[in-house]
Symmetry: C2
Subunit: 673 residues, 2 copies
């Protein structure tokens, strides 16, 4: 079989796409990185790590057994830490904690340890927990050893029978003043700790969340540092049963584990005591403020937004480049097969997802900024902004994880059957991204927390209270301000969003009230309205994202050509989501049926206008081929040859006739002879 000109065709296709770029790619790269310096720094770190042959896999992880996969990723994870610890230049490049997150997370990390890093939780949860919840003495005792890798920890909260609802945890830590110890115990099978990454075989310590009992009273879940394995032999300690929980949809190499205790004793001083304390005599000292933990949750959830957004960037880069290479069917009979990106239905799958990347970016950036601005005053006890920040981080975590997971899947399917191939990398990007829908707060629970804030704010507004920025539009206004819909400008569409959400919130608040008035307990009424409540929350957070997207583009320090393409993406995002939620706009009177027809026609125009910039837009995400790790999405467009080369590496292809033939197939085929 000859290698023929179609390889060059593919590469020429991308070249032609790149030549018609209407904007400055580098401006977008630095905008997303947060500045020229950050772009330089990121590229330098990528170079250092990606040029290290130790991070290459001898064979695709999918070919290995479960045990061998774990061993291979553990090898690379250990090398990563060693490299980091041994090289001062690298340390300076990446900065302490931040850098480790880059190496673990969905940026560079996915290229180094592909299907989960068994040491990730050590850096992302264990050490931050000690820093955030330990006293200065405790930090001194543990952090040095943790940094050097002398001890490896994880964070054990979720139990077999208990997830998002923290108060339901069953593991107990009962204080025994006679020995000044806590006794950790798992009273039931459902109290087994279940899921923590690195817990199965890697970690020898964990921060364990357990119900604190002292003097016969329960004080709720508290964090304890617990040794799990012998530091010398790595054997699990007496009273500690632990292991790996078995295979998963994805992330199969971070040895998620289970753990149960049988009256396991630890010193009193292993309770992390920055906030609450238990004195030697068993006296419980409650924290000055029990809302402080919300700060950490805001931080973690916004970090998830950035993680999922990077996954979506990767997927849409792959899908866009492949759509410019893949040719199929006929647009006009008798003419050559066009690039599938020429089809409006394909543009409709991909371009709104490029817009989504920017939407999540600007919205998450805004919450991040606010969090950093107020984090000082939070620690000084000023908690005014916490409920709003908490709500926004819950909502954005839910929106970004579900948008990203659905978006990745749309990208995968937009590549047809080839998206199903592991070598496209879209399967792994999906299995990793979708996990964020249920971890760190299951999304439906997140939406209902947002709804709670919306209903509370709506009621407060009716009582004359002033509302926080993100929900101020729920304040009752004279009807005249609703009459913006004749003009379909961006501002008018954002305003239409406000009208639609206000109307939704108003309807469900009235339904809630009606049910309470007719004698239902509030909690049951809440449950009976919760499908609609979750919807309110979704449309509210969508509105917030639209608004932040728009103001982000307006404020961005870029050339007019670059602002132009960003503005088209923002407009597409607005129009796409208004059409997707059109019922809310029509029912509230925010927009009319004829507005909808106009917007549908505009959608077609926007897709056509953005199509020529599609490849350049994903190029501007500046994702290294090793981080993309995709035969379909590589920079040079040499798709088919890469697929073929990758297939040849299958262990099954190392012999023409597989061993299984002799064992099973031949006896069957020869049976009738």
């Amino acid at each position: 079989m000859a290698k023929t000109s179609e390889n060059h065709q593919c590469m020429d296709d991308l070249k032609a796409e790149r030549e018609r770029c209407s904007f400055n790619k580098h401006e977008i790269t630095t905008l997303l990185d947060g500045g020229e310096d950050k772009t330089k720094q990121r590229r330098k770190i990528e170079k250092v790590f990606l040029s290290d042959p130790e991070f290459l896999d001898a064979t695709r992880p999918e070919y290995l057994s479960h045990e061998d996969r774990y061993a291979n990723e553990l090898r690379k994870a250990c090398h990563m830490i060693r490299k980091f610890n041994e090289d001062e230049e690298i340390q300076q490049l990446v900065g302490q904690m931040d850098g480790i997150r880059t190496l673990m997370g969905s940026g560079l990390g996915v290229a180094l340890t592909k299907d989960g890093n068994p040491l990730a939780l050590h850096f992302i949860m264990f050490m931050p927990s000690i820093m955030g919840q330990g006293t200065v003495e405790q930090q001194g005792e543990w952090m040095g050893r943790a940094w050097s890798g002398e001890i490896i920890g994880t964070y054990a909260q979720t139990e077999l029978g208990h997830g998002t609802f923290l108060r339901g945890l069953e593991t107990t830590a009962t204080y025994d003043p006679s020995t000044e110890e806590f006794v950790l115990h798992s009273p039931t099978i459902t109290s087994t700790k279940w899921w923590p990454g690195g817990l199965g075989k890697t970690a020898n310590y964990a921060v364990v969340m357990a119900q604190l009992y002292t003097r016969g009273r329960c004080h709720g879940p508290h964090p304890f540092i617990v040794q799990l394995r012998d530091e010398e032999t790595h054997q699990s300690l007496p009273g500690v049963t632990l292991g790996e929980i078995g295979p998963r949809l994805g992330m199969n190499t971070n040895d998620n584990g289970f753990l149960c205790f049988s009256h396991h004793r630890i010193p009193r001083t292993h309770l992390l005591m920055k906030h609450s304390q238990v004195l030697q005599d068993g006296t419980y000292v409650r924290p000055a403020n029990d809302k402080l933990a919300y700060g950490t949750m805001v931080f973690v959830r916004v970090a998830i937004c950035f993680d999922t957004y990077r996954q979506l960037q990767r997927a849409v880069t792959i899908a866009t480049r492949y759509s410019a290479i893949r040719r199929q069917s006929e647009l006009v009979p008798g003419q050559p097969e066009p690039q599938i990106l020429e089809y409006q239905t394909q543009q409709y799958k991909i371009l709104p997802l490029i817009a989504t990347v920017f939407g999540i970016h600007f919205a998450a950036q805004s919450v991040w900024q606010t969090y950093n601005d107020v984090t000082g005053s939070i620690h000084d006890g000023n908690l005014d902004l916490l409920p709003e920040l908490h709500t926004l981080s819950c909502g954005l975590k839910a929106l970004s994880s579900s948008d990203a997971a659905n978006g990745v899947e749309t990208c995968r399917l937009s590549c047809g059957g080839h998206g199903y191939l592991a070598s496209s990398n879209l399967p792994r990007i999906y299995t990793t991204t979708t996990a964020a829908i249920t971890y760190e707060g299951e999304n439906t629970v997140m939406w209902l927390q947002v709804a709670r804030y919306l209903i509370k704010s709506f009621r407060e507004a009716r009582q004359g209270h002033r509302l926080h920025h993100s929900v101020s539009y729920l304040t009752p206004r004279p009807a005249s301000t609703h009459a913006l819909q004749t003009n379909l400008s961006n501002a008018a569409l954002v305003e239409a969003f406000r009208v639609a959400v206000s109307h939704l919130v108003g309807e469900v608040a009235a339904r809630l009230q009606g049910q309470c008035d007719s004698g239902m307990v509030f909690e049951h009424a809440w449950n009976a309205c919760s499908v609609q409540l979750a919807r309110c929350a979704q449309v509210h957070i969508r509105y917030f994202t639209c608004e932040e997207f728009l103001s982000g583009v307006e404020k961005a320090e870029v050339s007019e050509a670059t602002r132009g393409v960003l503005m088209r993406l923002c407009r597409l995002y607005l129009v796409f989501h208004i059409i997707g939620n059109q019922g809310d706009f029509l029912r509230s009177g925010a927009l009319t049926p004829s507005d909808m027809t106009t917007l549908e026609e505009e959608l077609a125009t926007l897709l056509a206008a953005l199509r020529p910039d599609a490849v350049s837009l994903v190029d501007s995400f500046d994702i290294h081929d090793r981080i993309l790790d995709s035969t379909l999405g590589c920079w040079d467009g040499n798709v088919y040859e890469r697929m073929f080369e990758e297939a040849k590496k299958s262990p099954l292809n190392q012999k023409d006739v597989p061993d299984a033939y002799y064992k099973y197939l031949r006896p069957l085929m020869k049976a009738s002879l």
Copy 2:
């Protein structure tokens, strides 16, 4: 750790659910099976195969290497055939071809070969192709050898660069009259056959689709029987390059393969000549009717509907049972954690999917019935009904595969983090089901074929032609018939659907016409409207499903109690999808905003009314625990203990300290000492 009462709690929960069943489960089981006899037969076959220890796995396939997984499934696949060939009782039980499909497909098959059967395409595509496209002599030559397993075949159509668009295939078969042979050749890398199951290592023959050239002219793609491997040694023949395409999102054990030819010669008589022929001198004899192939496509696509529907049945059975066992959070503060099925948001995820199972069942059954009714007259050349049947099968294939895949994923996510565990089986059900979105006709292409039929019918109706049954509502009617919306009966809602789709089709037809009138080529205008065209198609097929669901329930021979619960499910399906597409109903005037509010309130009522029957409904799907294969979904509800037992089997748990510790972790941990 003690095993305590919560295991009994779980089992008691399911027992309590079962006690409040309002209908006759067995009636639903037999309704779905197609009669009492079929239920008995199915159960007997299940018993025969599931009691055979040869079909048990020594270890979960996920723990094995890629090669070992393939060998393990090949072992079971061969045993399956042998068992079938050797046992006359089994042959009688399952009937020839039908029975093999049961054993391969998503019913019993998934319990026997879990992640893809390397022999499936031999029975599902290779043999049916010979039967459907071969002459009687060809059938005589090949079918006996194929039945006995003496030769193993597959079906090679898709190429690396060519999928749904059949005419784009590049593989050539050029007739050489001097030797009376066809020369098969793969002229480019993109012409490589890519994807066929069993092609990589298992099959020694294939039906290959190639462009037929004779006397210098191309006659389009035709099917050829091609030997690929030596019958004695199983080595690939000279001129034939083939292998496995590497790992995938799922179905990793059916050795999907690649294949290319270098001037590979086969006898003239290996062209399957039932329809077209090439004579010895190279004369091409065209088929009497080139539409006959559509019949097979209808058959294959309806079969996919039944396959995906069984996958959704499995997923929703797991999610429903788990939701009756899992307890979480508080509905009313201070009270015990309720079953998560008590939460309206959880009911909203699950109950519409139970309804979807019936919706797909009735709609697919109706197309299947029509197909069987007319199949005789089709072969007699009466092709009147073919376009409608073809359209419905395209649309239902797209609707059922995307509804099922999304539904399975909703089920997985409704189980929280535990749905991510392989032992829940939801990951595998998803990865298998989602494949149907792109295979046998990519769904977007399917939707646009439906749209083409809708627009054609709409135009014909305006020219006074009579339309076929499924689209007869597109015939212009006096406005008065639209005024049904004050009454929200089932009939009124179905009529509202007709009004909404008619309006949608009318709008897009006008837009198309407008663009053509302004000078656009029709094909470009079509592309510029294709997002809306695809939407029309989706709502049309949804309407069709609603109508068939309703009439299926009305006609079902069941007790009134059973009809009652089916009718509630049907109503839920209608209301759920009207709310989901509310924009179309509002814009067409089919329903008013206040109708929508009423329907939303009714939705809440329906969820509450169906909740007590949820577990009994999925019980009535009568899925054997081995076919469910889920720790979360098992009949007895002993969820947590099963999860724990399953986890203990992980190879990583066979040693307390893993080998990788000594190799990688210990050197890191001890480096600083």
